[in-house]
Each structure stands twice: as structure tokens, then as C-alpha cells.
């Protein structure tokens, strides 16, 4: 436990819950960097690297959004092709 002393009450969000949710429900490949950056937030916070923790936090947030966007995009894409498919097949639901 070295480095500068972080003032008490300082928190850097690590977005871990969002990362896990994004990994499982949205997009696994983009969710993994989100979890890894979440891990870095806590590692750096514990070692006193506040700036590094903040940077990792921003990256975790970014990758959560990328994962969410890709998951949403894939979902919308599927809805689109399934609607086209339904139009093609008529009533064979």
C-alpha cells in the first residue's frame, strides 16, 4: 500500500455491475474489456493512483456503452430481419 494518500470519501465508480450485465446480456467481446477496466479502477485506487483509477473508470464506462450499443444493434438487426422474414413467409409463424 504505497503512493499518495487518497482523501477519505473519494470514490471512483468502477461500473462493475454494469460491466457484468453488459457482458452477459449485451455483448460478451466488448463486455470483457469493461470488466478488466473495472478491475483496474480498484487496483489503482488501492495503490493510490487516483488519476489512473479515473482513466480506467472512464474506459470501463466507454466499454459498457460499446457493449450495450452492439447488443442493442444486434437486437434491432434481428428484429429487422425477422420482420422481413415474416413478410416473406406470410403467415407461417
Amino acid at each position: 500500500m504505497t503512493g499518495t494518500v487518497i482523501p477519505p470519501g473519494t470514490t471512483v465508480p468502477n461500473y462493475l455491475a454494469f460491466s457484468i450485465l453488459a457482458t452477459i446480456l449485451c455483448c460478451l467481446p466488448a463486455g470483457i474489456p469493461a470488466i478488466i477496466y473495472s478491475a483496474q479502477v480498484n487496483s489503482k485506487l488501492l495503490s493510490g493512483d487516483l488519476a489512473g483509477a479515473q482513466a480506467a473508470s472512464n474506459n470501463a464506462k466507454l466499454w459498457c456503452w460499446i457493449s450495450f450499443g452492439l447488443g442493442l444493434g444486434a437486437g434491432l438487426f434481428f428484429v429487422m430481419i425477422s420482420m422481413l422474414g415474416v413478410l416473406h413467409r406470410g403467415h407461417s409463424y
Binding site: P13, I20, L21, I24, I32, I36, A39, S43
Partner: protein
């Protein structure tokens, strides 16, 4: 320093997100993902036939909302283990936005978070192995022997 307007904006956003979450839970309670076309399927499973670590989690949460714990467990055991923690984390985040104060959270070291990531990936790999006992990890396979 954040302005008061920014705080207000974030409060509205958090409230709206909570409402969307509750609405989602109601939809998930009413429509079963197993046999209704309301939900898009997992893109990975749709394209490749492989199960991702999250496959079965929507069906599992549906069963959970109906009170069928064994069915939920069979559909995605990992999601059922992680769900309480994820819900707690999300509730904590919502409280940060609404009141500026989080729920008590342990600070996990980076090692444990990476280990968790490894467990999720490993679970995703193992549930595709078509050999007993790993094949029981596929969605719904546990109690349909």
C-alpha cells in the same frame, strides 16, 4: 464541480432508467422468452448455435419472476448466482444518482474482478462441451435428463 442542473438531469435520467427497468421486469414476467417472439435471440446462438455465458438468462429471470427457482437455476446457474450482486450494484448506483450516497460496497481487488471475468468466460466455454457433466450447463439441460 457539477452544476445543480446537471444533478437534476442525472436524477431524472436515473428515475427514467428505474422506471424502464421495472417495466422491463413486468414485460419479462408476462411474456415467456421461451415461446414468444417479443425478445430478440442471443446473436451468438442465432449465428453459430453456440451458447454464450448469458444464454438462458432472460428465460431464467422469467422463471424467477414466476417463483420457479429450480427452472431458473437450470436455465442459467451462473446468472442466478450473479443476479443478486448485480441488482445490489445497480441499486447502489441508482442511489448515488438519486441521493448522492451509495450502499455499502466492499472494494474488491483487481485480482478478484479478473477472476470473475475468467469464471464467466470459462462458464461460456464449458456449457458448449457436449460431454457429461458439462453438457448439463447448457440452458435448461440440468433437469431434463
Amino acid at each position: 464541480m457539477r452544476s445543480v442542473a446537471s444533478y437534476r438531469y442525472r436524477q431524472y435520467l436515473a428515475s427514467a432508467t428505474c422506471i424502464v427497468g421495472v417495466a422491463g421486469a413486468i414485460v419479462l414476467r408476462v411474456f415467456d422468452p421461451a415461446n414468444s417472439g417479443v425478445y430478440p435471440p442471443c446473436p451468438l446462438h442465432y449465428l453459430t448455435g453456440l451458447y454464450c455465458p448469458g444464454c438462458g438468462s432472460l428465460r431464467a429471470i422469467h422463471q424467477l419472476l414466476l417463483g420457479n427457482f429450480t427452472n431458473a437455476w437450470a436455465l442459467n446457474p451462473l446468472a442466478m448466482i450473479l443476479l443478486p450482486f448485480v441488482v445490489y450494484g445497480l441499486a447502489s448506483q441508482a442511489l448515488v444518482e438519486l441521493r448522492g450516497r451509495a450502499l455499502p460496497e466492499p472494494i474488491l481487488s483487481g485480482f478478484w474482478i479478473r477472476a470473475l471475468c475468467g469464471v464467466i468466460v470459462l462458464f461460456g466455454i464449458l456449457r458448449n462441451v457436449p460431454v457429461y457433466p458439462f453438457d448439463r450447463l447448457a440452458p435448461g439441460a440440468l433437469f431434463h435428463l
